[in-house]
Assembly symmetry: C2
Homo-oligomer: 249 residues x 2
Amino acid sequence: MARKALLRRISFYADLDDADQQVIMEINGRDQHFEKNTEIIDAGQEMDSVLIVKEGWAIRYKTLEDGRRQVLNVLLPGDMFDLQVLVAAESDHSVKTVTSLKGLSVRPSEFRRLLTESGKLTLAFWWMQVQEEAFLREQIVRNGKQTARERIGHFLLELYRRVLITGAGAGAGNEEGFRVPLTQTVIADALGLTPIHTNRVLRQLERDDLLERDNGWILFKDQRRLAEISQFDIGYFHLDAFRMRLGRE
Amino acid sequence: MARKALLRRISFYADLDDADQQVIMEINGRDQHFEKNTEIIDAGQEMDSVLIVKEGWAIRYKTLEDGRRQVLNVLLPGDMFDLQVLVAAESDHSVKTVTSLKGLSVRPSEFRRLLTESGKLTLAFWWMQVQEEAFLREQIVRNGKQTARERIGHFLLELYRRVLITGAGAGAGNEEGFRVPLTQTVIADALGLTPIHTNRVLRQLERDDLLERDNGWILFKDQRRLAEISQFDIGYFHLDAFRMRLGRE
DNA sequence: CGGCGAGTTGAAGAGCTTCAAGCCTGGTGG
DNA sequence: CCACCAGGCTTGAAGCTCTTCAACTCGCCG
């Protein structure tokens, strides 16, 4: 049950038969549980396994010497980090939970076994990696060339789509919106803004009838218009490109 | 001779013996030549091969609907793109030369052959990929949390170090500085600034005796101080992490 | 010799930050 | 059970960084 997020995620990249699903459900790893706001990986730390998120949210981030913090990416259920451990490396950034989090810690040897066992899985993991890099690039465009208003709209739409893909646990999202367990400070640190300005823009988006906030939920009042304003184009998710490929092979 | 950039680059990730070097020098591909300011890959375009840069500079970038352009990364001799073609994808961004450029176009099948042929090479390519992602992350931090002055210093130091790694052709760089064939507009588009402001900050860095510009060259007057100001820490290049790993295996 | 791309400079203004203060909520301990 | 505290959210006012608009220079190529 708890591994469904990964299953749903991978299903987006490969047509899994029963045997494939079996392989995934039987991944050999150590269950891990982290409290809210807990450091999972410190920058500079040597990593020794791949962690698959089963439940909960986390952030990757880097801190400058003077304390300024930049959030690089948000980790949702079904996400993995850090594949780069497969070639061994120290992490050049930190990872920290924003909610309590359940994960599955998989040793590199086990992970390599998975990859050799199933070509389909290998392809799927490649795809997840390609997508992850695409998210980083989009983050660069957003923070480099968009206004605060555009950034926030774009960021929320990206998260929303990602949550819908994995289901991300019961009641995490629906047609109207989704649960966002991020503080405005975290959002600000992701988008290169101050929490104060982030707050002002969020309120303005509400006044403009583009979204509504309710008890940790973001509800979209007009997704089309918000996507237009923030120039959100889901192309970079590569959602159908890989399906076309599957058809060709 | 022309493939030396790749050789030098890979040598940073693996101790190559004569046989390995032979394999690299004999990579089966099609020589390609592009003029200055030429589109190599259009966003949305289907890719069918991996391109290895032998000579010249290029940029990866994305354009918003209204024409705003964000440069994601600079491609130097010894760099490759796009490995993701190995699992097949449309590109979600564009690539364009900034100088005339010589490249080697390698078909996915040939590339896969290389990977199966040499475990050392596989590891080295993984490393290049890890490093590429690290550059993207650093770009996010730079543009998200640093001032124009810091960004420009950091960006120039990053490029400088990268140029030194591959040699990047005769006379491309030395202890004092390096040749930067980027217009101020490109630098601005990489750093999320306007060309005008970029110009002002560059001039200010000169007035502050931190650097000197001469006919397309950037000369560092005080690298230590510039690195300090811009909080440039080469850690994210992962230059020795992999060497440690090599020693362990 | 004319024009184009790149660089440079000034002046005005917008967007975002900084500093400051108050509010609201949930959790904790007396 | 309620007082208190901490963290997150909200708002105002002032100011700074960076942008925008505009104009001029320089070198290069046709």
